[in-house]
């Protein structure tokens, strides 16, 4: 049986490479702009499905809160459409955060592991779980399934590695009137 699984896995892997459907280049391009949070706030089960929906004209370009205004601008540029404000019904743009499990409370139910779209949670049944901060996209999908509410969203602090120089102040004092 194990052999069967290995063979089948290999066959699947092979098929994935061999019969890889040449992705729609437009979908790829849209997907490249999307933040890959995989949060589903847009109403689709991930960034790729949303990209497909945009490409097919099914979805609008302003449904991605993590991508924010800049993401919408890029999509508008790519697709030659007008820029739109982020549609409020899908959520608001928030500072980038990561999920953190309060390890004192966690009961090891694995529900969050099953919910995480990017496999960023490590743990096993009845063992405490931990989120790999580097891989967490901040999608918040692990929050609702947690039966003990032990997951918190913590905004990423600015560090020496992530600190950025600010845009220089407008040099002419009344230039903003123009």
């Amino acid at each position: 049986m194990a052999l069967g699984a290995v063979v089948l896995g290999a066959a699947l892997g092979f098929a994935a490479v061999k019969f890889k459907v040449e992705g729609d280049p437009l979908v790829e391009k849209i997907d490249a702009i999307l933040p890959q949070t995989q949060c589903g706030q847009c109403g689709y089960p991930g960034c790729k499905p949303y990209a497909q929906a945009i490409a097919s004209g099914e979805a609008d370009i302003n449904c991605c809160p993590p991508g924010g205004e800049e993401g919408i601008r890029k999509l508008a540029d790519l697709l030659g459409r007008e820029f739109k404000e982020l549609s409020g019904e899908h959520g608001i743009e928030k500072p980038k955060s990561v999920a953190v499990i309060d390890e004192q409370i966690c009961i090891g139910c694995t529900l969050c592991i099953q919910a995480c779209p990017v496999d960023a949670i490590v743990g096993a049944a009845k063992q405490m779980h931990t989120i790999i901060a580097d891989q967490c996209t901040g999608c918040e999908l692990c929050l609702p399934p947690c039966p003990v509410d032990c997951i918190l969203m913590v905004p990423l602090p600015e560090t020496l590695d992530t600190w950025k120089w600010k845009y220089p102040v407008i040099e002419i004092k009344s230039a903003h009137h123009a």
């Binding site: 049986m1 069967g4 699984a5 089948l8 896995g9 699947l12 994935a16 997907d31 999307l34 933040p35 890959q36 949070t37 995989q38 991930g46 960034c47 790729k48 390890e103 004192q104 592991i113 779209p117 990017v118 496999d119 960023a120 949670i121 490590v122 743990g123 096993a124 049944a125 063992q127 405490m128 931990t130 790999i132 901060a133 580097d134 891989q135 996209t137 600015e158 560090t159 020496l160 992530t162 600190w163 950025k164 120089w165 600010k166 845009y167 220089p168 040099e171 002419i172 004092k173």
Partner: protein, 590 residues
């Protein structure tokens, strides 16, 4: 006489070096409390090796080099580690990072030092010594020296140009400690099997150049067994191979790539390093630190810092790393109208958010500023494309174009116009008649581009993991189907065998009809009918087997998704496991 080359552009600001260059280097008094950041530069991190409450000796290692570009950190004096905590660093961001707060005991007791004979030691041992001594570039970038000294080169350049106005720490060091600088240069030269060593000194520092000349002349004759690698020529320390060269005073002649250009004619583009062209460049301060580390075993725990600008007593001080800048400033007696302090020179230095921050290895100068001495810039005007910036740019960029695109946040274009070749020397902004803070725009664009690249990387990783997860779910589904199918087949075969056995026992009457309805249903997974047909003891055996499998599975429980983790992530997992053990332990004992 060596032929010198020109680098493009450059500016000639008034040097203002006289006041601080006049006085000899003074040792700064030992402060009560020292704050030593574990991170001394943009790249160089160190892993903390001490805990609060621990006693340390002067020169004791308190942080070991982390990663490829890390560098070690040492206790600058003997005393007690009061705390390991986050403190504000001397950095343009004003952000905090972990530091060791050390209370000096005033005894200045050294750890046991182990000097090396640089001419009788394996290059790897010498390099390890440099690494352990925490030596980084003292010109300002603080890049770890052991990393720079890894390759074999033709020409070693020792940078004594010190082109920024006001700063004189290298000038004084060359005048007072030329012997050790030359020794350090020779050690580095041997390490890299260099054929020649050039000292580049701007021609506004004749005394420093003369001191180096004298030191080179007074060097001992070449050792009988010079180190050589890869069959390269032996290195002879004589006038032919070591030259002290005066270079024209022109800012930024002390830029690494500019000095290499002036002395060798080689132009090194962005993304390439000196060794790609057979040259490497170290600051005179670094060479001095190398000599101290190798010949005396002393780690890098102090440096020369210039106090210049709005001081009553400008000068140069030998300062322990970690000395609070407040304490240091007091030595120069800043004038009452001092309104801010810049770390570094006036062309590239940054304003300190707070003067409580400590001196770090990159702190070459503290420039006290007053509105009279450094008048605040008048309001900026629009760019008139006059081209003054393009003529001043030492990298032949088009600063006005870069400004245009950076201002419009058209980052793609800034990269096409080679934004990352910009060395942020400030020449363009210095000459700009419209007083546009050009460098601010470039720094902004660079950090935005870097942030985007980080985000892109994270997004790609997330996409990959998301797609892998989907693939895995598909696979698991398929595997489950296979498993169930196999199980059903097994059951069917067993049934068939039993039927056959019954037939063998002589019950032939029914055996003629194997295709009865029950067996046909066996193909359906989880069909209970099949089991009910089988004898009861078989059923029990199956249940037992399933229980055993479940038990085994439970015993062999392992975290999921842990395959193919990076060392960092593994470390995180390990940490989590450790915490888990801590949490589990009391539970078990309870």
């Amino acid at each position: 006489m060596l032929e010198l080359f020109r680098f493009p552009g450059g500016v000639k600001p008034v040097s203002h070096k006289e006041a601080s260059a006049a006085a000899p280097i003074t040792r700064a008094p030992l402060p009560k409390l020292l704050v030593v950041p574990f991170r001394q530069s943009a790249t160089g991190a160190a892993t903390i090796q001490v805990v609060a409450g621990e006693k340390v000796l002067k020169g004791q290692i308190i942080g070991v080099a982390e990663g490829a570009f890390g560098s070690a950190v040492h206790a600058p004096t003997s005393g007690l580690v009061r705390a390991i905590e986050s403190r504000m660093l001397p950095h343009p961001s004003g952000l905090a990072a972990p530091c060791a707060v050390i209370e000096a005991d005033g005894e200045e007791r050294w750890v046991e030092l182990s000097p090396l004979d640089p001419f009788d030691s394996d290059p790897e041992i010498v390099r390890a010594k440099i690494k352990d001594a925490g030596i980084v570039g003292l010109g300002g970038a603080a890049f770890p020296s052991h990393v720079k000294a890894k390759t074999v080169i033709d020409t070693l350049i020792i940078n004594g140009a010190e082109c920024e106005p006001w700063i004189t720490c290298d000038d004084r060091l060359m005048r007072e400690r030329a012997d050790e600088i030359v020794s350090g240069a020779i050690i580095l030269g041997r390490l890299m099997a260099a054929k020649r060593i050039f000292f580049g000194v701007e021609d506004n520092k004749p005394a420093a150049a003369a001191a180096l000349h004298a030191a080179v002349g007074g060097m001992p004759p070449p050792s009988p067994q010079p180190l050589s690698r890869e069959g390269r020529g032996a290195f002879h320390a004589d006038a032919q191979t070591i030259q002290v060269i005066s270079v024209p005073t022109l800012y930024p002649a002390g830029g690494e790539k500019q000095l290499i250009r002036v002395l060798t004619g080689i132009e090194i583009p962005y993304g390439k390093l000196g060794p790609d062209f057979g040259v490497q460049c170290f600051n005179v301060g670094t060479a001095h630190a190398v000599a101290r580390a190798v010949q005396h075993g002393e780690p890098l725990i102090s440096r020369i810092v210039t106090l210049a600008g709005n001081f009553a007593r400008a000068g140069n001080f030998d300062v322990l790393i970690g000395t609070p800048i407040d304490a240091l400033l007091a030595l120069g007696a800043p004038l009452p109208d001092t309104d801010r302090v810049v770390m570094g020179g006036p062309m590239m230095g940054f304003t300190l958010h707070d003067t409580a921050v400590p001196v770090v290895k990159a702190s070459n100068c503290l420039l006290a500023m007053s509105p009279a001495l450094f008048p605040p810039p008048k309001p900026a005007m629009p760019c008139i494309r006059c081209g003054a910036c393009t003529r001043a740019c030492p990298v032949v960029l088009q600063p006005h174009e870069l400004y245009w695109y950076a201002r419009a946040k058209n980052f793609g274009k800034t990269q096409e116009y080679h934004l990352f070749d910009c060395i942020e020397c400030g020449c363009c902004a210095y000459v700009c008649p419209s007083r546009i803070p050009l460098v601010d725009y470039y720094r902004f664009a660079k950090s935005e581009i870097r942030a985007r690249e980080r985000e892109k990387l994270a997004a790609d990783l997330a996409r990959e993991r998301y797609e892998f997860r989907q693939f895995r779910e598909e696979r698991e589904k398929a595997e489950k189907a296979v498993r169930l199918a196999a199980k059903a087949a097994e059951t069917k075969a067993k049934l068939a065998r039993e039927e056959a056995a019954k037939v063998g026992a002589g019950e032939t009457a029914i055996a003629g009809e194997p295709g009865n309805t029950e067996t046909a249903l066996a193909g359906e997974p989880g069909n209970t009918e099949t089991a009910s047909v089988a004898p009861v003891n078989d059923k029990l055996a199956l249940i037992a087997a399933a229980q055993a499998r479940a038990a085994a599975k439970k015993a062999a429980v392992a975290p999921q998704n842990t395959a193919e983790l990076t060392p960092d992530q593994q470390a995180q997992v390990a940490e989590a496991e450790a915490r888990r053990a801590l949490i589990d332990a009391p539970k078990d004992s309870a």
